[in-house]
Amino acid sequence: MNIIVCVKQITDPEVPPTSIKIDAPARRIIPAEGIAAVLSPFDLHAVEAALRIKETSGAKVTILSMGSNLLREVVKKPLAMGADELILLEDSAFADGDSISNAYTLATAVRKIGAYDLILCGRQAADWDFGQTGIGMAEMLGIPCITIARKVAVVDGKAVVERVVADGYEVIETPLPALITVSNELGEPRYPTIKGILASKKIEPVVWKPAEISIDPAKTGAMGRKLLLVNLFQPVRESRCEIIGGETPEEAGANLAVKLREAKLL
């Protein structure tokens, strides 16, 4: 069983909102100083899903990442968690794509990898929240796709997936190969172990440039963009909160109830 997991390096989504700045004329987000790069959290859930399958039925887990300035300590985290190899599509030609060009580039790399049974992605990247690249890859590769999984198991050559929906979940089966996007309901991704971290140090990532995956330069990265970003702005929010006080927290609580009554909210 060969599993490919796609992961994306982003700026830490847990940063305080005030640290996010934009360059509006250039339509760019300015990376906040001192904010660490991380893998998109949903992608780590996808890695976790792959490692659970590896534990129960055995699998080779290949991590695929794309971007420019990929920090080795960031993109190697899945190796430290227990993945087997790391392929990086690292070139400025791959950068600044949209869902279409990114899906095209990743699908092209998957074809070069060749043998695979399962592709796992996070449900959406936690920076732009597009939620489309995985579905696009599946469409381009001509394989079935199930989105927003809370559980992925491989049984008798099929994937059995629990898909999160608003009032519970659905159980869906698909033949392999298939692409599954994974959600946080899967459960916490494991922490790298010391042994895993040491093992990951010995694994050198394989770096592929555009020519090595025979990509059409007009369809990758910024060149392949079909979605045009015409404006970026930061919504202004003026606080109008009335803080209700009291001598003690208990008194403040009671005063809040009185205030809500006065405001006819109770």
Binding site: G131, K226, L227, V230, C241, E242, E250, A254, L265
Partner: protein
């Protein structure tokens, strides 16, 4: 392109009627159709939905298409993709609007890639660029701290729209429109996905989406026990209990109570947030609430930027006193 016509809205039905979000989408589609001087079509897929589909006219559509087929009873990605793709190829709309729902999140990108166009998910505003006659799609990014406006030259432009961002038009049963049965065959033999079963996690009490008052807890609740007090308060106020992601991820509450970017989007009259810092991901699900009340020990917490009234303090001390005063006031 000259042969493109109109705006199309995918209207979901549930419990024997159009969903609230479907009526919001019709209002959004109506506005765009009027701005473009084109027709607005609605499309409802399902089983036993013929009567429901015609409701789309009363909420603003010019034509209500429906596909009534047992294969469309539950959302099956391949069935819905096939039927929707067929109708879009026939109608050639320039804009296709869906809700940011379990269906929209899954179907919109599938359609976009199938039709070789682009979708933008979770939009909070759609407007016409009068010069290009293309639609500008506004979507929160970077946890809602930045809004991005996208467009594209490809057609159709596909969007999913977040709940509670548009007000529905008042229901007008005198509106005239055409109801069309889109009776296209669905070839099940090509399906690769098999729906085995659906497990519904029953939600006790008032439905979260319909509750006028929602009492919600966050990471600061510290465990499942604190939610007993939130339940007590919700019962007093005839409301529902909700949570941000940490309590849902930790299993303190069932996942169906999650409010936020990846959970439910609600807009009650009053949203009481207890021990919730107000991360942008959470606020995506509740910022349209009429009145947000916050109890948090951190005066700098983001939730106070959204709140109308707030108490800075430990909920363990504030909440019991608040609840007992509420009881007293309600009984007087």
């Amino acid at each position: 392109m000259a042969d493109e016509n109109g705006v199309m809205v995918l209207t979901e039905a549930a419990n024997g009627k159009l969903t609230e979000l479907a009526t919001e989408l019709l209002a959004c589609g109506r506005k765009l159709a009027d701005d473009l001087s084109v027709k607005l079509s609605a499309f409802t897929a399902g089983s036993g939905i013929k009567e429901i589909a015609s409701e789309a006219i009363a909420f603003g559509a010019d034509t209500a298409y429906f596909a009534d087929n047992p294969l469309l009873k539950n959302y099956h990605p391949e069935a819905y993709l096939a039927i929707t793709e067929k109708l879009i190829k026939e109608l050639k709309p320039q804009v296709v609007i869906m809700g940011q729902t379990d269906i929209g999140r899954d179907l919109a990108p599938r359609l976009a890639f199938r039709l070789q166009t682009v979708a933008v998910l979770d939009c909070i505003d759609l407007s016409l660029n009068p010069g290009s006659k293309k639609i500008l799609l506004t979507k929160p990014v970077y946890g809602g701290n930045v809004h991005a406006v996208f467009t594209s030259d490809l057609s159709p432009q596909i969007a999913t729209v977040r709940a509670k961002t548009v007000k529905p038009l008042p229901r007008d049963s005198s509106r005239k429109g055409e109801i069309v049965n889109f009776d296209a065959a669905i070839n099940q033999s090509t399906f690769r996905l098999k729906l085995v079963e659906k497990k519904t996690q029953a939600m006790e009490g008032i439905r979260l989406e319909e509750a006028k008052v929602v009492v919600s807890g966050g990471r600061g609740m510290g465990g499942a026990e604190g939610f007993r007090q939130l339940e007590e308060l919700a019962a007093l106020l005839k409301g529902a209990v909700a949570a941000s992601r940490p309590p849902a991820d930790s299993g303190w509450v069932p996942n169906v109570r999650l409010v936020g970017l990846t959970g439910k989007v609600i807009a009650p009259e009053m949203y009481i947030a207890v021990g919730i810092s107000g991360s942008s991901q959470h606020m995506a699900g509740c910022s349209a609430s009429r009145n947000i009340i916050a109890i948090n020990k951190d005066a700098e917490a983001n939730i106070f930027r959204y709140a109308r009234y707030g108490v800075v303090g430990d909920w363990r001390k504030v909440l019991p006193a608040f609840i007992s005063k509420v009881k007293e006031l309600l009984s007087s």
